[in-house]
Symmetry: C2
């Protein structure tokens, strides 16, 4: 990125923006000029960043991002306290909550096992999970269907095997709107494997 | 955008980001989670925004964004001081400088005439231009080839007509890599109109 033509504080702004995922140098320059042209939006953004960094932290119970502690789900009076859904990231909690289909508790690992990146069980929020299992009937392992996700799911299921807790995974299959012609082989294989009788 | 599932400081960060051009609610959420996960990048960004807003301002001579006053171009010892190139926005200065083909001065209007949006000559950096014309031989009007740009160019050329200054515009024609088949009619018409004899 050639920042030679920009005065230094502007060049710094451009390169700070370009460090964000999915923001290339051209977008970073465009956003920077927008901010100089709209200082109120820019100030609000800087204050919102500071405020989020100050007030948002992982819930000490479940690990989800929250401003209060414990978080709204952990403190929720109407949640099913016999069920924990384990996810990789806080954004996965939002995805599940949005469906309105889940009323149990969550546990956020903040990552998945990845020996190649030096991420073992110690680097994840797993110890806290073990201290929450009293009264839990089922743990849904809702990590993403990737190699690392599969490894993590297997690790957790072995860890919980002897504790009389049912460990389940999200169903794999064709997503809504998918086209068999373009689906990958593994997705089709999993969809076949997991086929269900029709209610008729 | 449904921010119901996010704690308030995080919801504020998402909506502050989503106010930026080209950033939709999904990207804003993704960037916010990235920032919480990478607080150093987030802090650097907030500081860079503050610093740019504090130190960057329009050059009192040409109107380009600068940290010094006058800006590096206006203060440049090697610039041709008989030539001014008038552009709409500071980003246009960068585009022209990058070519390395232009050694004159600049003048940034910070917009174009647009009566429908209430932008007349008073709202643009035009008065300052008139005070800079001493010793100037040529003014290149490098506004964009849009309706408003054409209007602005015409206005400026009439304003400068009686001052013994040559007023020129950037050539219109086919851009590099263009395909006649897909070029629009006006571009082809302008390219025909501006055809040049080949040096052979």
């Amino acid at each position: 990125m050639d920042l030679f033509y920009y005065p230094e504080p502007l060049a710094n702004l451009i390169s700070s923006l370009a460090r964000l995922p999915g923001i290339g140098p051209k977008t970073a320059a465009r956003l920077s000029f927008y901010m100089l042209h709209n200082p109120e939006d820019a100030t609000n953004l800087a204050r919102a960043v500071d405020s989020a960094l100050t007030h948002i932290h992982p819930c000490t119970v479940c690990g989800n991002y929250t401003a209060d502690d414990p978080c709204a789900v952990c403190a929720g009076a109407k949640r099913d306290r016999h069920l924990i859904c384990v996810v990789e990231q806080p954004r996965d909690v939002v995805a599940l909550e949005r469906t309105g289909e889940y009323r149990g508790l969550y546990h956020v690992l903040h990552g998945v096992l990845s020996p190649i990146d030096g991420i073992g069980p110690e680097q994840l929020n797993i110890k806290n999970l073990l201290s929450r299992l009293d009264g839990i009937n089922e743990v849904i392992v809702a990590v993403n269907p990737t190699i690392e996700g599969e490894t993590t799911a297997l690790y957790l299921s072995r860890l919980l095997k002897d504790l009389n807790i049912i460990v389940t995974r999200l169903a794999r299959g064709l997503p809504m709107g998918a086209d068999l012609e373009y689906a990958d082989d593994i997705t089709i294989a999993r969809a076949l494997e997991g086929r269900r009788a029709m209610d008729n």
